[in-house]
Amino acid sequence: MSDIATKTPPEAPERAPSPKPRRDALWWVRKALWLAVLLLALALPLYLEAEWLKAGQYMMVGAVGAIGLTLLTGQAGQLSLAHAFFLLAGGTAYTVLAGPTGDPELVGFGLDPLLALLGAIAICALLGLAFAPVAGRLRGIYLGVASLALVFLGLYFGQAAENLTGGTSTGRPPAEFSLFGFPFSNEGDLEILGVPIRATERVWYLFLALTVIAFLLARGAVGGRVGRAWRAVRDNEPSAAVMGVSVWRAKAGAFAVSSAYAGLAGVMTVLWFDLLKPDESEFGTYGINVSIAYLAMIIIGGLGSVPGALVGALLVNGLPQVLALYSTELGWSTGTGEHAFTPILISSFVYGAAIILVVLFEPGGLAAIGRRIAGRLSGKQRERKGT
């Protein structure tokens, strides 16, 4: 359908002068706020205890995954419940690529961890692309349920491919990450302002860097040509095609990008747990509950909003961690035993309720609330759809 549209026109029409980017006071406030957040995140390891850093790392894992999902579901309008599958795929790919060679039971390629990380992302993108023929034909709910199939396939794969995943009983430890020979472990003495920078702090900075890259790339995609194509396809496929957007390519591209993000989040998950362990049932680290949790993040944050996904991840992935830490700190032991209100349970209630409230009262999620506040502050209506 889009063959005609992609041919170069005989004479390129003169480009309309692009409007000057808005640089009013609000723009500067916004930039300053983001900078402040970044500086805060850079400074936190100097003050926080290791277990709080661990909690923060988990939020960043969620953030990367959620950004990927919000591009797919929010921007391109494709409901996906397969995110957990791509987490598993990414985690497994990293562990296998970076795993030691010569183990008779487990497959490993002994690659450099950075290469393995990139390889895992590439493999997930290809897997996402492989699902594109299905995704391209289906719409909305049909796609959502079809993508659920991948989670079940992942469950089976995790159990069956023991030489890759290590099996459900023991799992398999991932190779420690290192960057050009710099280890992300307790090795070596490194201090900043008298604070020793050990494994937890180093992984914090690694995750922070990955999150920032993921965030900036996503913002770039949303603001650019790709994002416009995604939104056009989301809003109306035929009219997008008429305007010269290749619907198939936009959909497949969104799936590949989102899977790549999920793959990266999977690598981070495995590094965070320091273990790759496939689930025994549909409920686990890579189960349907995880797909739903990621969906919750982007609904709460506002579908399609990249900063929203970030905040949603802080909430959904952060809450159980923070609750667990507080409950031990205050001696408020809710944690274990039958019928207990565990931190995970409480946070499930919170995000379940948050989804309902968002759909009922503010379909745009936290992003819409944020936009409204910004609009109030600047004194004019700044409706920017989809950013």
């Binding site: 049909y142 079809a146 079940f152 035929p238 409920f283 739903i292 039958e338 207990a340 995000y351 379940g352």
Partner: protein, 292 residues
């Protein structure tokens, strides 16, 4: 050969249960265009009522309360949440049901704790010998009950005022409203009926014969297989739901026996994927037409 016959009967029994669940999906989808992700939690809720009440009022009474309870929960979800958000599109409402599902499921799983009760007291673990073949009573009863219920449903759908109203509304909502069909009542009954069917289904699912596992999070996962059943047949086709349910049941039974238990769950979804690639709207679903 005997094993094969046994497998087919098992598959049909399971399929009948999946058909009940899938029919619920389809009824809700036809009435409201919402896909109900909270179906699994309706199943759990019905089962949980049976577990808590059977000590005091006996299994039969508890089973009736469970079925009605599941129906009422569905009704409550529709009345209290969905009908209040008429402005939201079906897509967001489907997401809303995910929120409901998370809350209800987590709470029931917490209450159940480590106990995983079987709730099919009247038919569970009482195999029957028919012509030298051992059959599970659960599957046979499920087949009979489902046949009766589905027949009743189709008769009501075809001839009763409710059925006509619902088909009219599914056809054209505005026109139906103009001729005086009360859309709120139609959707409310649709949810109620779907809930009742889910309440019946759980009495067969949480048994030793059907799943070998008591009422638990696993029951919720099994209920998820009703999704591919509904999608296979086409989300807006009631007959498709029955065909899809039976297909899922047969695939599940055959794959469990000939491949492995772990593979059976994926096999069901694989079959769905294959059907969707060939027919994107399911076997009997109407193709969406789009206006630019």
């Amino acid at each position: 050969m005997e094993t094969f016959v046994q497998l087919i009967v098992n598959g049909l029994g399971k399929g009948a249960v999946f058909a009940l669940l899938a029919l619920g999906f389809v009824i809700i989808f036809k009435a409201t265009e919402v896909v109900n992700f909270a179906h699994g939690s309706l199943v759990l809720f019905g089962g949980y009522l049976v577990v808590t009440l059977r000590e005091s009022i006996g299994w039969a009474g508890a089973a009736i309360v469970g079925v009605v309870g599941a129906g009422l929960l569905a009704l409550a979800v529709e009345r209290l949440l969905l009908s209040r958000s008429k402005l939201a599109d079906p897509f967001s409402l489907a997401l809303l049901t995910i929120g409901v599902d998370v809350i209800v499921t987590e709470e029931i799983v917490r209450r159940l704790g480590v106990s995983l009760p079987f709730i099919g007291d009247a038919w569970d673990a009482q195999p029957v010998q028919v012509g030298g073949i051992t059959l599970f009573r659960t599957h046979l009863v499920a087949l009979v009950v489902a046949t009766v219920l589905i027949t009743l449903f189709f008769l009501a759908f075809r001839y009763s005022n409710w059925g006509i109203a619902m088909r009219a509304q599914a056809e054209n909502k505005e026109a139906a409203a103009l001729v005086g069909i009360r859309s709120g009542r139609v959707t409310a009954t649709a949810w109620l009926v779907a809930g009742l069917l889910a309440g019946v289904a759980v009495l067969f699912i949480a048994t030793q014969d059907f799943s070998g596992a008591g009422l638990s999070r696993g029951t919720h996962s099994i209920a998820l297989a009703a999704f591919p059943a509904a999608i296979l047949g086409g989300l807006d086709s009631t007959a498709g739901a029955v065909v899809g349910g039976i297909t899922v049941g047969l695939v599940d039974a055959l794959a469990t026996h000939y491949v492995s238990f772990a593979f059976a769950k994926s096999a069901v979804f694989l079959v769905m994927l294959v059907v969707l690639v060939v027919r994107p709207s399911g076997l009997f679903g109407t193709r969406e037409t789009i206006r630019v």
